[in-house]
Amino acid sequence: MQQNLEFLKDVGLFSSFPDKAMKLLAFLAERTHLVTGDVLFEEGDDHGQAYLVLSGQLSLSKQKNGEKVIIQHYTKGDFLGSFSLLGAMPALFTLQASTETTVLTINRQQFSKILEQFPETTKLSLKALLNELNQWERKNIYEAGACCLSRTGATVL
């Protein structure tokens, strides 16, 4: 559990949570061991979980014309699925383990109970998410320039 706590402290979303909430989160988080090919979620599933990679590698892919196209890899320290902790959201991609992998899993129910118990965390996580969104916007829209602006609009929100 102590280890879980150390790992979770590095996740942006939780970085400014109070100690007590972090402890509880670390206690609730479940360690899952995956072998190559294990599927965490598939396109269209509302899996309601966020994953922190502790070791190994996960790959995000999409079916395109019957073929699997790998979009991104995630490795140790990567945290994905923050949005699905907040509410129902069907996945747009498929997430699989591409090697033997250990992840720490937090689900929506656990997270929302923590938000309920520690009301200040709602604000903190909103702030953290906004921050992430801002960075994403900067990286993907602002810096990408004119090519994509016509499709996405000048800003997402």
Partner: protein
């Protein structure tokens, strides 16, 4: 008594109807007893007079004894008869109310869905359980009380008139005055009572609404707002209740006053008559007694009057509330069910709600037998309403729906359920087992079809299993079966499972070695608790069950002898400390305590113990506290209670203790414990653990599927699949199915419809809670098994699945705006095209 109508709906029946329905015989017996009691009551009066006039005055000892004997017999009989009357009244009352409740409940269940949209469940509950209960008192009284008391009164009055007409006339004069005052007061009391019943109902609804909407109240923090609403009602209720009570007690007081005037008249006028020599003293004593005795029947009559008024007010209000006719004829089927091909023709169908909203507007289409129709469109477009109309959930306003050229509205409900199966978006699962829920629709349909021979209504396990497989619930049911426990005396099953265990060892042990922690004499098992690790066995004796071990002095001395007691206390304290550190003050959320070694309700105790231990030694704790700490340690399971670790030193000590345990347990008593052996069944553990002779390791998601596959294969080899499935079907789903996941509930709802083989299947987004895999399974089932055999109408929100339907209907604002095959509609580039590909 109004019983003139031929067969009025039960809500229009009079209160007397229930008092006499099926109770006529009892009521007559009651009447006979009553006549006897009147006689037994009047007799003592005459004896009184004779004792004084004939015996005492004439010094006739013999006569005294005779009259006294008759006197005592008469009053004894009267008491015994009174008891019999009370018993009969209770019997009649309870019988009447039970019939009333049953009939009314049955009636309520058939009322239209529109009725329930505006009715709070709490309202129905209080009507059935509270409001009707006054009727019990009344039904028991309905016949007996007025007759007894009127007869008794007449008896006394007649006797008095016979004694002395003048004096009798004077005393009885009081009563007509009473007849004037009391009804007037009663009328006012009734009015207040009516208001009270209505207001109570409003308050109940208000409470029910607030409690159902408690999430909204809490999230908006609208406590005081809701509180004010309630306060307002409570105040009004208080006022009305006070008024009501005032009138009720007013009636009692007025009555007591008038009756109290009786002796006054006897003394003044009777005394005068005695002095004048027109009346003997004995008669005046009899008069006084009679006067007193008149009071009881009179009081009972007044009580009866009040009960009747109260009961009939409540009864009328309650019945009036449910006074509505069911939408559909509920005539039982008396002809055999006619088979349908399943073709459907909808013509100019409209549905307008009671408050004038037009939800369906001139819908026309037809479907051949076995054709599949997907209904798509914007939400609020009328998809669900259309399906519910075809499902006969409410009556359409105009137009027609024809099944095989028979108009749906002419079919009785019992006939339509034979042919039509409906699966809703969020199906309701009832408390009970999987099997009971599975048979829910099937049983309803077969019970209605009374003409079927009994054998044909039996359904075999194979068919249930097939349906469960078709909807993809079979694996879940198997899992429920494997996780269940067998009865302690079920030797046969236990033996079979041990044989399966051998089969498992031979065929699957290596395959599953990564996922299961097998029991092994020499290993520490991280999926088992400390106690189980020490014992490596279990006990059939209650005193030695795991959860009581910490209290067991013998066991504690064993721990002491193997030097485990102190380390386990240390572990217990550590667990308590961790739990308090993480969980103290966070509220008792089940989710938080799922993996906590300390249950939520004992966290406070831990805090107190820890505070005490700061200053005092362990031995200063109370025995209960010590035992609690020890139980925490004994229950500690490293793989579940991840907040602490088990020191490796302690692990070694436990393994060493395990070796010494059998010898020690023999020394305490023979056969106290059964050690885990490959050849014996472990009671108190699930079937699956028994097959494994071990436990599954948690946190390995992929393990589930491999384990399921292997176990299925094993059970098929061993020919035991059906037996386990049967165990699984007895799994209790919990209140409203809360022990099932959303997907499981939906699959169960599909299965229960499939089991009755309807010709027409209506699906209202019936697969929306299913994951991709399960959804495709249902899709496959529809295309391979139902096409051409069962007509399907499905409201669909996912556009990617509609291609496999024969026809697609697009609805908007209650109208059918497009209808045709998928290809046709896509080609015409209309609304469907827009829904799928977006607006250009």
């Amino acid at each position: 008594m109004k019983q003139d109508k031929a067969a009025p709906p039960i809500t229009e029946k009079s209160l007397f109807y229930w008092a006499f329905k099926d109770n006529l015989k009892l009521q007559i017996i009651l009447l006979v007893i009553i006549v006897l009691i009147v006689f037994a009551r009047v007799l003592p009066l005459e004896m009184q007079k004779r004792i004084i006039n004939d015996s005492i005055a004439l010094r006739n000892i013999k006569g005294l004894f005779l009259y006294c004997a008759i006197y005592i017999i008469a009053i004894t009989t009267a008491s015994a008869l009174k008891l019999a009357i009370n018993y009969l009244q209770a019997l009649i009352g309870e019988k009447a109310m039970t019939t009333m409740r049953k009939d009314l409940y049955q009636h309520i269940l058939t009322l239209s869905l529109g009725f329930f949209r505006t009715t709070q469940p709490g309202m129905v509950v209080s009507s059935l359980m509270t409001e009707l209960s006054t009727a019990v008192t009344f039904a028991g009284m309905a016949f007996a009380v007025p007759i007894t008391n009127v007869l008794t009164l007449l008896g006394f009055a007649g006797y008095l008139l016979w004694l002395n007409p003048k004096l009798a006339g004077a005393t009885l004069l009081i009563y007509p005055a009473v007849f004037l005052v009391i009804p007037m007061l009663q009328k006012k009391a009734n009015k207040a009572n009516k208001q009270r019943v209505d207001l109570s109902r409003t308050v109940s609804s208000q409470i029910a609404e607030s409690i159902s909407g408690i999430h909204e109240i809490q999230v908006h923090g609208a406590y005081s707002q809701e509180g004010r609403k309630f306060d307002n009602f409570a105040e009004q209720l208080k006022k009305i209740r006070i008024r009501w009570s005032l009138f009720r007690y007013g009636i009692k007081t007025a009555n007591n006053y008038f009756v109290g005037l009786g002796p006054f008249v006897v003394f003044i006028y009777g005394g005068y008559l005695v002095m004048q020599g027109q009346l003997v003293l004995g008669s005046m004593v009899a008069f006084l007694s009679a006067q007193e005795k008149l009071y009881d029947p009179w009081k009972e009559l007044i009580d009866f009057y009040q009960t009747y008024q109260d009961a009939s007010v409540r009864y009328r209000r309650t019945m009036g509330y449910f006074d509505s006719v069911p939408d559909f004829s509920l005539q039982p089927l008396n002809t055999p069910v006619q088979p349908l091909t399943g073709s459907l023709k909808v013509n100019n169908l409209s549905y307008i709600t009671a408050d004038g909203h037009r939800l369906l507007n001139g819908i026309s289409f037809s479907l051949g037998a076995g054709e599949h129709l997907a209904v798509v469109g914007y939400s609020g477009g009328g998809k669900s309403t259309l399906i519910q109309c075809v499902g006969k959930m409410f009556n359409y306003t105009t137009g027609s729906i024809q099944l095989d050229n028979r108009e749906l509205s002419t079919l009785t409900k019992y006939e339509s359920i034979q042919h039509i199966g409906y699966i809703s978006q969020s199906p309701f699962i009832f408390t009970g087992s999987i099997k009971e829920n599975l048979l829910y629709a099937y049983n309803a349909a077969t019970e209605a079809a009374i003409t079927l021979p009994k054998e044909e209504t039996k359904i075999d396990l194979d068919r249930m299993i097939l349906v469960l497989q078709q909807v993809g619930l079979f694996v879940d049911v198997m899992r429920f079966g494997l996780d269940s426990f067998i009865a302690p005396d079920d030797e046969e099953t236990a033996e079979k499972i041990i044989r399966i265990r051998q089969g498992f060892r031979e065929g699957f042990e290596t395959k599953l070695a990564d996922y299961v922690e097998f029991y092994n004499q020499d290993d520490y098992h991280t999926n088992s608790n400390v106690a189980e690790n020490i014992l490596f066995g279990s006990s059939q004796k209650e005193d030695f069950s795991y959860n009581l071990l910490s209290d067991n002095a013998d066991f504690r001395s064993f721990l002491q002898s193997v030097n485990l007691l102190q380390p386990l206390f240390t572990l217990g304290i550590e667990l308590a400390r961790q739990a308090v550190d993480i969980l103290a003050g966070v509220g008792t959320v089940d989710l938080f305590f799922k993996n906590s070694p300390v249950p939520a309700d004992r966290l406070d105790e831990c805090e107190k113990i820890l505070v005490r231990l700061k200053k005092h030694s362990l031995s200063s704790l109370s025995p209960q506290n010590q035992s609690f700490l020890l139980s925490l340690a004994l229950n500690f399971t490293p793989s579940i209670h991840t907040m602490s670790r088990l020191p490796s030193q302690l692990k070694e000590s436990i393994l060493a203790a395990r070796k010494l345990f059998p010898e020690w347990s023999q020394s305490i008593g023979p056969d106290l414990f059964t050690s885990y052996r490959e050849t014996s069944y472990i009671h108190g553990q699930s079937i699956l653990n028994n097959i494994f002779f071990g436990r599954i390791k948690p946190g390995l998601p992929h393990a589930q599927e491999i384990i399921n596959q292997s176990i299925m294969q094993l059970l098929i080899e061993q020919d035991y699949l059906e037996k386990i499935a049967a165990f699984g079907m007895h799994f209790q789903v919990g209140t409203m199915g809360d022990r099932l996941s959303g997907g499981q509930k939906q699959k169960l709802a599909i299965a229960r419809v499939l089991l009755k083989h309807p010709k027409i299947i209506l699906m209202d987004e019936a697969t929306s809670a299913l994951d991709n895999k399960s959804q495709s399974r249902i899709q496959r089932l529809m295309t391979t098994r139902w096409k051409g055999k069962r007509t399907v109408i499905a409201a669909v929100h996912r556009m990617d699945i509609i291609e496999s339907f024969d026809k697609v209907a697009v609805m908007k604002a209650g109208k059918l705006i497009e209808f045709g095959t998928y290809q046709e509609l896509i080609a015409q580039k209309g609304i469907l095209h827009e829904l799928i590909y977006g607006r250009k």
